[in-house]
Every structure is written in structure tokens, then in C-alpha cells.
Symmetry: C2
């Protein structure tokens, strides 16, 4: 089975949306990535850190999904990373109410020895130095390194970020971040500039646009009746994308299109309930049905011969 190394936060989230609010629940980029990737035939390992306050029950939830958790360091005397946010009525914008780094402040990722030969590495949104450290620990160059990042690192650690970007194959960022990173408004031009920074593939999360040289592929967001909680959608996309590619072991552009579709499909489940709840209880049949919806949403029959 293909191995997938995932680095990212495993955290507590407290979320408020127009539909309700939660206490501290399980969250974090690596959590969502891992849950999404667990849908595929891959042997995933999460590299992360939590505090002594992190419930064994949450770790068991991940283990139950066949995710290796030996790379999740537990700092007994420390507290787990905590994020709290409030989503506005449009569900597109949010205020961060609290960010407590806690054990994340001194996080030194350690990739488990038996995963250092993984062919696929998924670098979740974290300090670029942490992402770089994971790359450097790999025994040989992976077939595919996917990086997710955000504007915060462009503002605060741009040099480090650019060094990591040079080493990766696929970057996933949203449209505003692509514009910030390149100073270009046109996403086509922005993608080209990002290609020049290193990544052969650029995924811009607006719907989801996949760029590779002059080729573009687009997967829209499924038009859902209600988005209940957007938290983790981007991570779930990334996890589905990397998980599908690791599981199929085919890194061609054509197969990346399928990976984008799987990523979008899984993300559409993620937003239906608070936190990880929906991802914990998603059946293969439900995924299959939604892939069919995706197909009827986007596929057409014009003959071009």
C-alpha cells in the first residue's frame, strides 16, 4: 500500500456559525487531511503535536480510520493548539476569535522512520520551516509533494515559504492568496508565475482550478443547499487530492483532474456538519452518489470531431 506522510495541526476548534456553536471539538489541518485520505487505499501517517489535554478518544478516532499516529508527539505538560472562529452570514468570511499556539510554538516534526520512504507527502498549512523540515527528513525525494499554505505565512515568513515552494510539486492556495503571492490579478497569469517559483501544478481554491503549464482544469463547488460549517474544507480537499493520488500512484495531469474531483467531493461532505463529524461518518456509497452528482453537474455531450 502506498504511504502518505501528512504534516499539519491536530487541534481543538471552537466554531460559531449562523447555525449554532460548538465547544472545543476535534480539528486541525492534519486531522481533516487524514480523514479525507483515509477514504483511499493508502497508509497515512500524521506528523503533529498535541498537549497532555488532548483526549485519547480523539487519537483513537484517528487510529480507527487506520491512520498511523506514531508521529503525533504528545507533550504531557503542554496544551493543544486551539483555534476559535466566528463565521459571518455569507459563510465565506470569518473572524478569528482566538489562536493559542501552545505546544505548536516549539514543534519539531519527526517523521516516523518507517514512513521516510513514502512516495507522497502532504504538507498541511503550518510554518514553512516545519514543512521544510519534513521534506528534509524524507529518505529520498518523494514522487509528489503537495503543499497547502495561507496568507499568514506570506505576511510573516515569506522567505521561508518561497524556499519550500521551490521544493514542491503541487501548491494549493485560494484565489486571494495566489494574487498576493504574485502581485497578479489574473489567476491565469498568477498560476504561471507560481509555476516559475517551482511547483509544476497549481491548485487555486476558487471552486478548484488546477493549472499545469498551459492546461487548466476546473471543478466547481457542488451547489449545496446549506453550508453548515466551512472549517476544514480546504484541508479535506487537500487530503482527498493527495490521498487519491497516493492510492492510485499515478501523478499525471489527467489523473490529477480526478484527484481534484475527489477532493472537492469529500470537501462537500465536510461542510455539512460541525468539525469532523460528517467526515467520521461518511460511507463509500454516499461518496459514490456524490461523484455521480458531480458528473451530472459538469459533464456534457457536445461532439467535437
Amino acid at each position: 500500500m502506498s504511504k502518505l506522510v501528512i504534516v499539519g495541526t491536530v487541534a481543538f476548534d471552537a466554531i460559531e456559525t449562523p447555525f449554532g456553536k460548538t465547544d472545543k471539538i476535534l480539528g486541525g489541518a492534519a486531522t481533516f487531511i487524514g480523514l479525507a485520505a483515509s477514504h483511499f487505499n493508502v497508509d497515512s501517517s500524521i506528523v503533529s503535536v498535541v498537549g497532555g489535554d488532548f483526549p485519547q478518544e480523539y487519537l483513537d478516532l484517528l487510529s480507527d480510520k487506520k491512520i498511523d499516529i506514531s508521529g503525533i508527539e504528545i507533550v504531557k505538560e503542554g496544551k493543544t493548539f486551539f483555534w476559535s472562529g466566528l463565521y459571518h452570514n455569507d459563510m465565506n468570511s470569518r473572524d478569528t476569535l482566538a489562536t493559542e499556539l501552545n505546544v505548536l510554538a516549539d514543534f519539531n516534526p519527526v517523521v516516523p522512520v518507517n514512513y521516510r520512504d513514502a512516495k507522497v507527502v502532504m504538507l498541511g498549512n503550518l510554518h514553512p520551516l516545519v514543512q521544510m523540515s519534513v521534506i528534509e527528513q524524507m529518505a529520498e525525494k518523494p514522487d509528489l509533494i503537495v503543499l497547502d499554505t495561507m496568507n499568514f505565512w506570506m505576511d510573516n515568513a515569506l522567505d521561508d515559504l518561497l524556499k519550500v515552494i521551490k521544493k514542491i510539486d503541487v501548491i494549493t492556495i485560494n484565489d486571494e492568496e495566489a494574487r498576493q503571492l504574485t502581485g497578479e490579478y489574473s489567476l491565469v497569469v498568477a498560476a504561471r508565475k507560481i509555476h516559475e517559483m517551482g511547483p509544476k501544478y497549481v491548485v487555486i481554491k476558487k471552486g478548484d482550478l488546477l493549472f499545469h503549464n498551459d492546461d487548466v482544469f476546473y471543478a466547481p463547488a457542488l451547489p449545496l443547499e446549506e453550508v453548515f460549517d466551512p472549517t476544514g474544507a480546504g484541508d479535506t480537499f487537500a487530503g482527498g487530492f493527495a490521498g487519491y493520488l497516493a492510492g492510485t500512484n499515478d501523478f499525471s495531469f489527467e489523473n490529477m483532474k480526478n484527484a481534484v474531483i475527489y477532493g472537492s467531493t469529500l470537501a462537500s461532505f465536510c461542510v455539512e456538519k460541525f468539525g469532523t463529524e460528517r467526515m467520521m461518518n461518511m460511507t463509500d456509497e454516499e461518496v459514490f452518489d456524490r461523484l455521480k452528482q458531480f458528473k451530472s453537474l459538469t459533464q456534457f455531450e457536445i461532439e467535437l470531431s
Copy 2:
């Protein structure tokens, strides 16, 4: 050949974008609709009004595209409708600098007698009473009536608009207008409410979403390097949509998907130059090539069996 009746403005536009500005040039909803529809095997007639200041040369341009102009009334002593707008840097928002109704203020549309048996009617953005008058002049119920409208009529003539909406088959509006018309934020729910108002098909122009009962189809905007001038894009979409359906004489949901693709494709040309310039000089081969781009942008190969 199938007949298509088009009602809408034939006008002067003066446009300013970050890329330049124009003097008064040929514009108007019916102009763009007609040019787009002329790409298909249809016999189109434009119902509109212009003033004595309208150049014969512009009318000849439409005739050259095999568009019937016998329904364009010329009010010798009047002036042609004039619109002027300034697009902001994002090319999505604009300021209207001038709107001079002129001859449009007293416009009584007259559908040419030999087009009153047309099977397809395209009601371009105009006062709903004008749109209604065109419907009432048709000899028998057309197979398909498509209506384009905008927030201005929701603000100023809602009752009249709702009466027209009850009589049509397809409505094309943008996402904000769909929300305004229904008071629903979710576009899925908004589309359902619009179904209940009359139209069996709802096209929401955000990318382009086509709703019919529980079916949804989505065509993204092609990611272009630069949008040069968005004026007329929505009308061009509508003209391509209605023209394709009239030309194929197939009003099924499956064929409407193709109509959406053609509409989006033609609109992607429209925005490449000022006004109608690009639409006047678009070859079949260029359209074919762009349809291929559309296909590679959106089609994928996941087998669902």
C-alpha cells in the same frame, strides 16, 4: 430554418475600462444577443428602436450577419438609447456614468408579422411591460421563451416583472439578482423559489448554473488571461443559449446543458475586445477551438459503474 425573435436595446455605449476607453460605439442587449445567435442555424429578427442618429452602417452590420432588422423602428426625430459605464480594476463592478433613454422611453415593440410564429423568443433586458407585449404578439405559444432581466426592474417594476416571469420557460439572472428576487441566500433554494414563480429552467450567471427541478448543471467561466471589456457578456450568453436551442430545436435539459456551454463560449469571446468588435470577427474555427478548451477544462474520466 427555426425563427428566433429577439427584443432588447440597440444602442450606443461609451465604455471605460482599466485598459482604455471608447467613444460612442455600437451596443445594446439585442445587438449582442443577435450577434451571438447568428452563429447558429437560425433566422433571427431583432425588435427594437433607434433614433435618427443611428448610423445605417451599424444596421448594415447586423444585416450582414443575416439578422432581420425589419422590427427595428427608426424614430427619425429621436435619439438612440445611450449608456456609459466605467469598469473598476477588478472588472466585476462598474459605475454607470450616463443612461439616456431617449427613444426607448416611448418604445412600443412590434414583432414583424412573419416572425409571429417563431418557436423561440429571447426577451433581452428591458422594461417587463415591453417584454410582455412581445409575448402577447406571438401568434401561438412559442416552444421556448427565455427572459433576461436585472435588479433595476426588481426595484422599479416588480409587479410587472413577476407577471412576465410567470409566462416564460427560462430566466437568466445573476446570483445577487436571484437572491434579491427570492430573499434566499442559497442559490439552490433561490432557484427552487424561482421555479415556483413560473420558469421551469433557471440560469444563474455565476459562472453559469442551470437549474431544472432537482437537476443542476454548471459551466464555469473560462479562465482567460485578461477580461478586456465585460459589456455585453450576459447578453451574448443569452443569445448563444437561445440561438443554439432554436437552431437545434431540442428543448430538453440535456440539450440545454450544451446551450449553456455555447453561451459561455461565445461570451468568452465577447469580453476580449471593446463592444461588439470581437463578435463581429469570430470564426467557426475559433469557436470550435474554444469549445475544445471548455471540454478539457471541465471533463474528467472517473468511471462510475
